[in-house]
């Protein structure tokens, strides 16, 4: 069960049982994005406030498996209060941690989510796990390709939200 213990690390189970930044912000003024995983029915709702180039507040609602919910909780802690540029970098780093493995798995017939640019770029960017901090606990997910979509659900919703906020401001 070594792989399983690696997937379900204590920190993941902790965030699953006691999710951080749980709930919804009043929208408007907050911007609200829903993410669905049509395969398993996982749902995540990310509500966010961007002020002066900073992700000043963020809450997570929805329900799903331990991986989708712990990833959302870990994400909320990592990005709340950070400048938007830094948040985007973290999204890219996190998705890189997932997509590098996706790319290497493609030849094995495992399929998996293609993240377009990162995968197509060929040489994957070196991922600094240090920078990811607690989020690195999720790297066990890559051994279970079907679950990558669970782990990236909230991150995709956050990225979409930042894009929408930026578009409405311009």
């Amino acid at each position: 069960m070594a792989d399983l213990e690696e997937l379900y690390r204590e920190i993941i189970l902790d965030h699953y049982r006691s999710p951080r930044n749980r709930g919804e912000l009043e929208s408007p003024p907050a911007h609200r994005v829903e993410g669905f995983n049509p395969l398993c029915g996982d749902e995540v709702v990310v509500s966010m406030v961007v002020e002066n180039g900073r992700l000043s507040d963020l809450k997570i609602a929805g329900s799903g498996c331990s991986i989708s919910q712990s990833s959302a909780s870990l994400m909320s802690g990592a990005v709340k209060g950070k400048p938007v540029g830094e948040v985007r970098k973290l999204i890219s780093t996190f998705k890189g941690m997932m997509s590098i493995h996706e790319a290497s798995l493609e030849g094995d017939g495992h399929g998996g989510e293609s993240n377009g640019a990162e995968v197509l770029a060929g040489e994957p960017e070196e991922i600094d796990l240090e920078k990811l901090g607690e989020l690195a606990a999720l790297q066990g997910v890559v051994k279970f390709p079907v679950r990558i979509k669970c782990a990236t659900l909230s991150w995709n919703a956050l990225a979409q939200g930042l894009d929408e906020v930026a578009a409405s401001a311009s």
Binding site: M1, Y8, G41, D42, G64, R147
Partner: protein, 425 residues
Amino acid sequence: MSTPAHGLDAVPMSAPLNTEALRKDFPLLARKVNGRPIVYLDAAASALQPRSVIDAMTHYYETTHSNVHRGVYATAEEATAEYERARIVAGRFLGAPDPAREVVFTKNTTESLNLVAQSWGRANLRAGDSVLLTEMEHHSNIVPWMLLSEELGGLDIRYIPVDGSGRLDLSDLESLVAGVKVVAVSAMSNVLGTINPVASIAEAAHREGAVVVADGAQLVPHVPTDVVALGADFLAFSAHKTMGPTGLGVLWGRAELLDAMPPFLGGGGMILDVKLDGFKAAPPPARFEAGTPPIAEAVGLTAALRYLNDIGMDRIRAHEMSLTNHALARLDEKLGSDVQVFGPPAGQDRGGVLSFAYRDVHAHDLAQVLDQFGVCVRPGHHCAKPLMRKLGVQATARASLSLFSDEHDIEVLIEGLAEAGRLFG
């Protein structure tokens, strides 16, 4: 087919299945997963194939393959004969009165149901007409009617509710069915295992002059099925859930209905004549089979249905019913209130599909842990989101039985669940 109706009759008193011997017929069962023998409990998603099906398809490709209904050379004649034989075998398996005219090959159950909605539906329904479905339908028996509704400018889509026991609540059937043009119902739920009383629903529907469409994807592979006794006008099922290959579905329809329906897809094989200003459609079933059909898959289906017939659908049903009862009892005995199985209690109106919740562990996590034990179950909403909402769950884990499933499989499932309980505390 001498076996009666829809499994609601008395359990046939015939010899029990020797699952140990039967397992040897399935090459995939020799495989290990995570170092453990595979425990395949996902027949409701797709069944495994016996060696005879794989061999029949290989033999066809090695000795016979040609396109059908075109060439006059020997292998083309043989391929056509094999393809048409599969139609007769499939029709007889369902007790169809006129297999050569009434069996249409499609891609899968989903395409069969879409064919009915698009071809029969577009020709016979108008904006405002009523369609009666049930709350336990698979998306493939809901969305085609919604698509048609959008196209026609709005259908009145009603639903027979599901009661607390996981059965259809038929107490208001008379008012629900009043004035409807079509009733589309799952013959056996892919989530709850409920075997629905299609015959009595069809009787009420026919009094209204409605057409009855039965989704037989789960029923046909596991329960002796006779379309006449079932009372439906259309019945759909998939080869791959019936121990045959993927890529082939069956639509049985009453001959007079098929005769009056316009084509579904256009192309080769479905016409009598084409001129620059129009075409003349072929009679059914060719009318609904545009393009080169899945010929090798039809050969595989013949082998699969023969395999099931040789064992006997009544014996398969008796085995799976007995194992379902055993599984329900063992889950309760070992895990008690930690496990909640959805659907009716053990009995005549329940098939071997066991959807369950275990404590508050998400179905996806359960399935992940079970995989470590070699156990294949399906987590998710099972393409039945309206039913999931009704049950008040986002997802369930689903174990579904095959003719080779045995009591040991259930013990490994329970062992895996206990580990999930330990891991998630």
